[in-house]
């Protein structure tokens, strides 16, 4: 059964933000799967719905204004949507944890880092306070910070060090699934590589599955097995890394690769995707990408594309690849 094979399975998930200025369809009809030990890259521009997806899995979508409109999120065969707060709290931080984007703001400034790591350990494991602190020191050592520093406060650490602390919190209970929301975006370039390496090694050591949210295709190539490209709330292409890099199908994906400089090619200028992300409260009709799409057809503005499996394991949401269109 698929429940056994896939650690996480998202089916037809839709999440909307309902505000006075209009409804933002942050995630629309999303379908994804992650197997045990696998890493899925979730790629897209700011506002494409990546973070909302992550918060949806954690059941932390801020409500109001956010609301899960429909769909299912199966984790170890159980639907997370509809679980009681008590049940979901047993999963958060324990079986599924999350690393947030900005380490400067995601740690509580008035608690020592040790306390913050120990907190999650105490919540999910039956240990006393002393053991929790010992384990939190061990976790610090694991992420490359001397254990004695558990008594220090976040402001005494640099950005890269803080992100290590956040990673330590996330991995403290040895979760099955780790969601990393642009974990390196806020860091210096030199630190980015270190943190990424650390995550790769720890993932291997803990045998954790991971969702890596990023807008950096370089990061994807380095750590991911599968990739989902998101645009305006939709997963528009979903396949494994190798196929994505060798034969991208969706015009947006192709555009993304065109906007990355390639040192092997001797091109004069980059080919950025023309236009801007559409206003999320007022998406274009039909395929949301059609106004910027170089291959747009007349039907693209009329009908939403369906998710099409063009070859086993390679899904594209584009009318160019739908049967019976043209």
């Amino acid at each position: 059964m698929s429940e056994n094979k896939h650690l996480l399975e998202i089916k037809n998930l839709s999440i909307h933000y309902i505000t006075n200025d209009g409804t933002v369809k942050a995630v629309e009809d999303m379908n994804l799967e992650i197997g045990t030990g696998e890493t899925l890259g979730l790629v897209g521009e700011t506002g494409a719905g990546k973070t909302t997806t992550a918060l949806g899995i954690m059941q932390l979508v801020p409500n109001p204004p956010g609301k899960i409109i429909g769909g299912e999120i199966f984790f170890e065969g159980e639907n997370l949507i509809g679980k009681t707060p008590v049940e979901i709290r047993k999963i958060r931080g324990n079986k599924i944890s999350m690393i947030f984007q900005d380490p400067m703001t995601s740690l509580n400034p008035v608690m020592t880092v040790g306390e913050q790591i120990a907190e999650v350990i105490k919540l999910h494991q039956s240990v006393n306070a002393k053991e929790a602190i010992e384990r939190s020191m061990a976790m610090l050592e694991k992420v490359g910070i001397p254990g004695e520093r558990h008594k220090d406060y976040p402001h005494q650490f640099s950005g890269g060090m803080r992100q290590r602390v956040v990673i330590a919190i996330a991995l403290a209970c040895n979760p099955q699934l780790l969601i990393a929301d642009e974990p390196t975006t806020a860091l210096d370039v030199t630190i980015q590589a270190q943190v990424l390496d650390l995550m790769k090694n720890l993932k291997k050591e803990f045998k954790t599955s991971m969702i890596m949210i990023t807008h950096d295709l370089g990061v994807v190539a380095e750590v991911c097995d599968k990739v989902a490209i998101m645009y305006a709330g939709n997963v528009i292409e979903y396949t494994d890394v190798k196929r994505l890099y060798t034969s991208p199908k969706h015009p947006y994906t192709i555009g993304l690769f065109g906007s990355i400089p390639d040192i092997n090619d001797d091109e004069d200028r980059l080919k950025p995707i023309k236009g801007l992300m559409p206003d999320p409260t007022d998406l274009p009709s039909g395929c949301p990408f059609h106004p910027r799409c170089p291959k747009a057809m007349s039907i693209c503005s009329e009908r939403k594309p369906l998710n099409t499996e063009i070859e086993p394991g390679h899904f594209v949401k584009c009318l160019l690849f739908e049967d019976g269109v043209k």
Partner: protein, 308 residues
């Protein structure tokens, strides 16, 4: 930390001298001859002149001021014109009463203000939030001397639950403490709410939830401690208002504190007592503000790191 406190105490010195200067100047230029007040209207002119000479009232202004400051530094606030007792002992006799009143006022305001503010923030725009925000605004708008009178009419004269005056049993404390604490309770409510609203949107609150932490712990531990700095500031500032408000409250409930002593002294033109009272209140207010700044360090390690 110790050095910080020491430095702050040292910085209080010029401020207190400044306060002394203001108070002394005002009283110096006030019409009315202290010697005449002491001896009464019928006393012969030469006796008044002799007393003026004895009291040093004929000396130049700065000399008198210098003498007053040195005396104050030694704890000598002069003598009351009317009671002939040392001002310092008069104030110290009554200060515990005022302090007790102000402390209860602070307790009332904190006990009401912080929980209300937290609930309002976590249930923003709910009925509870709307009602408590209107009530808070009413609380800020109510003159506390009027509120005191209303409470006397309702709870003392009509319902007879509490006495209308005096300050001996716990029953005597209830109405004055509520009167005094209401407006700062309202301010604390408003500040706690807005500060909590700011904090619960922060990323680290989301981190705490992502750990699987229970919501009550997220709010009461993670959020509250971060939201507390502006709240503590308001509590400290409102303590000054409480000391000032105590003057009126004491007068309404006939409480024998420093406030009613000062009002009595103003009516009798007993300037040394007024001077002493103002200085004493300013000193306690400054000390409370220092206490608040020290408290910051215990709330926020980032501030503690700055106190070197």
């Amino acid at each position: 930390m110790h050095r910080y406190i020491f430095r702050r105490l040292l910085l209080m010195l010029p401020v207190m001298i400044g306060v002394t200067f203001i108070v002394f100047t005002m009283m110096y230029f006030t019409p009315g001859d202290p010697a005449r007040i002491m001896l009464g209207e019928s006393a012969p002119e030469d006796a008044v002149q002799r007393l003026r000479e004895d009291m040093g009232l004929n000396d130049p202004f700065l000399m008198q001021f210098g003498r007053y400051v040195t005396n104050v530094a030694r704890g000598d606030f002069g003598r009351s014109y009317t009671q002939r007792r040392p001002v310092a002992t008069m104030i110290i006799d009554r200060f515990p009463t005022t302090l007790k009143l102000a402390t209860w006022g602070v307790i009332v305001s904190i006990v009401i203000g912080i929980p209300t503010g937290i609930i309002s923030a976590t249930k923003q725009y709910s009925l509870f939030d709307n009602v408590s925000m209107v009530l808070a605004l009413v609380g800020v708008s109510m003159p506390n001397f009027w509120q005191g009178l209303m409470m006397i009419i309702i709870f003392a004269l009509n319902l007879r639950w509490f006495p209308a005056s005096g300050f001996t049993t716990w029953k005597h404390i209830v109405l004055p403490a509520i009167t005094l604490g209401t407006s700062s309770a309202a301010q604390i409510t408003r500040m706690t709410r807005s500060s909590m609203l700011e904090v619960i949107r922060q990323d680290y609150i989301r981190t705490a939830r992502a750990k699987g932490q229970v919501e009550s712990v997220v709010i009461n531990q993670h959020a509250l401690k971060n939201a507390l700095i502006p709240v503590v500031t308001v509590i400290g500032l409102s303590f000054g208002g409480l000391l000032g408000g105590a003057v009126l409250t004491e007068s309404i409930f006939s409480i024998p504190g420093v406030g009613s002593l000062m009002i009595q002294a103003i009516r009798q033109r007993d300037y040394p007592v007024v001077q002493g009272g103002v200085l004493f209140i300013a000193l306690s207010f400054s000390l409370v503000n220092l206490l608040v700044d020290i408290l910051y360090a215990f709330i926020d390690p980032r501030i503690k790191a700055q106190y070197k």
